[in-house]
């Protein structure tokens, strides 16, 4: 008889049982999205000895804006091969939200395993401009405020509120890039002190180069499995004991950018504070955002935050959130952690946030 972590009554135990990601690179100039995904999908199945015929549902996350091609998410399915026809869905969001949809379907009990994948290239266009198009189309998008400038406004408001200094941002960047040294998939990793990083020029004040995420082409995939099936595929599945996502208004002027109430609420609903957290993988593309997230999730000093280096190590669009879940799950599988928090974000300045709690038995 398998044992499962304690769950909210009526919930089915669903665990992360396999994870794979592409070698995050600045520019993948040879392979197209399908050719990038194929080895990742093969690996995520190969890790646990299954094939596409063993999953009852496929859900993906991506956005056509990144490559400027319509329906790129449909052609991406060629990387899996969907014959005979099967249940499949897509979200125009980070793969973490695709995982959420798959988790919901697994709760219904009709299927026992699902594939989640996502892909995003930052190299085909000007990412800062492309990201402006996710803003409200009347008042903000026509001004083309780039994503780095918006993040800089957020960082500046933290400084103005007396919550943090540029040195604090540099500490976050320094620690994450040092963590990234032990992450073979990291794109940017180094051992440099905060004091050294503060010598850099401003990119957009108060943000210096080290506080920015790298521009990354990449993709990732996860297999979820429910109940006993999870144990058949994985010795110590990373069971999702709580998962929730919340969004704030699209009007940046109506938000307090120094706090993340959506993360705080999602974290509460996911049950982050119920027990001790060993590891938290946070999707903070800009260094200062990690401080906001740690605060919103009430993570104490004992929590190992983003041992992979987080999104500062590699930031493939639409994928860096799912990768946080995969990185958190890896630490449950290895026994390094018993309870991990994974976080994903979407939208400008941490507008929308997903929080998952993973536990091993």
């Amino acid at each position: 008889m398998s044992t499962f972590p304690e769950l909210t009554s009526g919930r089915r135990p669903v665990g992360v049982v396999s994870f794979a990601q592409y070698d995050n690179v600045r520019r993948e100039s040879e392979r197209n999205e399908v050719e990038m995904l194929m080895p990742v999908v093969a690996e995520v199945f190969g890790n646990i000895g299954i094939t596409k015929d063993d999953v009852g549902f496929i859900c993906s996350g991506s956005t056509d804006y990144l490559v400027g091609g319509p329906f790129s998410f449909v052609t991406a399915l060629d990387a899996v091969g969907v014959w005979p026809p099967r249940a499949e869905s897509h979200v125009e969001m980070d793969g973490a939200w695709a995982l959420y949809e798959a988790w919901v379907l697994l709760q219904e009990g009709e299927i026992d395993a699902a594939l989640v994948y996502c892909f995003g290239r930052s190299s085909p266009g000007d990412l800062r401009e492309i990201m402006a198009l996710q803003l409200d189309p009347y008042y903000l998008a026509p001004l083309w405020p780039d994503s780095t400038s918006l993040a800089a406004l957020q960082a500046q408001s933290m400084i103005d509120a007396g919550m943090a200094t540029e040195a604090d941002f540099a500490e976050v960047a320094s620690r994450n890039r040092r963590n990234a040294l032990s992450n073979p998939k990291a794109q940017v990793a180094y051992d440099r002190s905060a004091a050294e990083l503060l010598q850099e020029d401003y990119e957009v004040a108060p943000l210096r180069r080290h506080t920015l995420p790298p521009l990354t082409d990449g993709c990732a995939a996860i297999v979820l499995a429910a109940g006993d099936r999870a144990y058949e595929l994985c010795e110590r599945p990373a069971f999702i004991t709580g998962i929730d996502h919340r969004i704030e208004t699209h009007s940046l002027g109506a938000r307090d950018l120094t706090h993340s109430p959506s993360t705080a609420l999602a974290g509460k609903k996911a049950g982050v504070g119920k027990k001790k957290v060993d590891v938290a993988e946070l999707h903070a593309p800009f260094a200062h955002q990690e401080l906001i997230l740690v605060d919103a999730l009430e993570l104490n000093d004992g929590v190992n935050v983003s041992p992979s280096g987080g999104a500062l190590a590699a930031n493939p669009m639409m994928s860096a959130g799912l990768i946080r879940i995969g990185e958190a799950a890896k630490r449950i599988w290895s026994g390094e952690a018993d309870r991990a928090v994974a976080h994903a974000t979407s939208g400008p300045c941490l507008q929308q946030n997903l929080v998952a709690v993973l536990e091993g038995v």
Binding site: E30, T75, G81, P124, E129, P137
Partner: protein, 162 residues
């Protein structure tokens, strides 16, 4: 009172660098040499032209290159009678789905040298290429397809590709 604003224009323009990928690059370089290059799935043995590098049925890489001939069959078609901005071909003209001999995937092509009233499913056609000096990594290397004069293909030979 001024008139309420009922509409606003917010022009947007983005530039992208397109990455055709390994397989599609082979197809495009084939056009540069006046050839149609496809790829065969190692599992179901279907030949895709142009290939995106994966068998959409099996989800496995198609590594084997296959050079296809110049002839094929019209599986279905459309006669374009409607003018639109940027139209470069005189209407009416025929747009057809062409299944090259030996291929398991049809692609769209312009069909000329046949009155629009005579176009039909099963018509045998061949590619007419632009002058060799103008061959490039683009489907524009193919001027159009025209009837070969062979008897029409049997429906059974292309019914899977409609």
């Amino acid at each position: 009172m001024s008139e309420p604003v009922t509409m606003m224009a917010a022009p947007m323009h983005l530039d992208f660098l397109f990455t055709p990928g390994v397989a599609q690059s082979k197809f495009l370089h084939g056009l540069e040499q006046g050839k149609f290059i496809g790829q065969r799935c190692p599992k179901c043995h279907k030949v895709y032209v142009p290939s995106r590098g994966s068998c959409p049925t099996d989800g496995v890489p198609c590594d084997e290159q296959v050079e296809l001939g110049n002839r094929g069959t019209v599986t279905t078609y459309c006669v374009v009678n409607v003018p639109f901005a940027g139209q470069s071909i005189e209407i009416p003209y025929i747009c057809g789905q062409i299944l090259l001999d030996g291929a398991n995937l049809s692609f769209m092509g312009l069909i000329q040298e046949i009155p629009t009233a005579d176009i039909r499913m099963g018509l045998r056609v061949e590619a007419v290429w632009v002058d060799e000096a103008d061959w490039g990594p683009t489907l524009a290397s193919v001027k159009y397809f025209r009837p070969t004069g062979e008897p029409d293909a049997e429906f059974d030979t292309y019914k899977e590709y409609l």
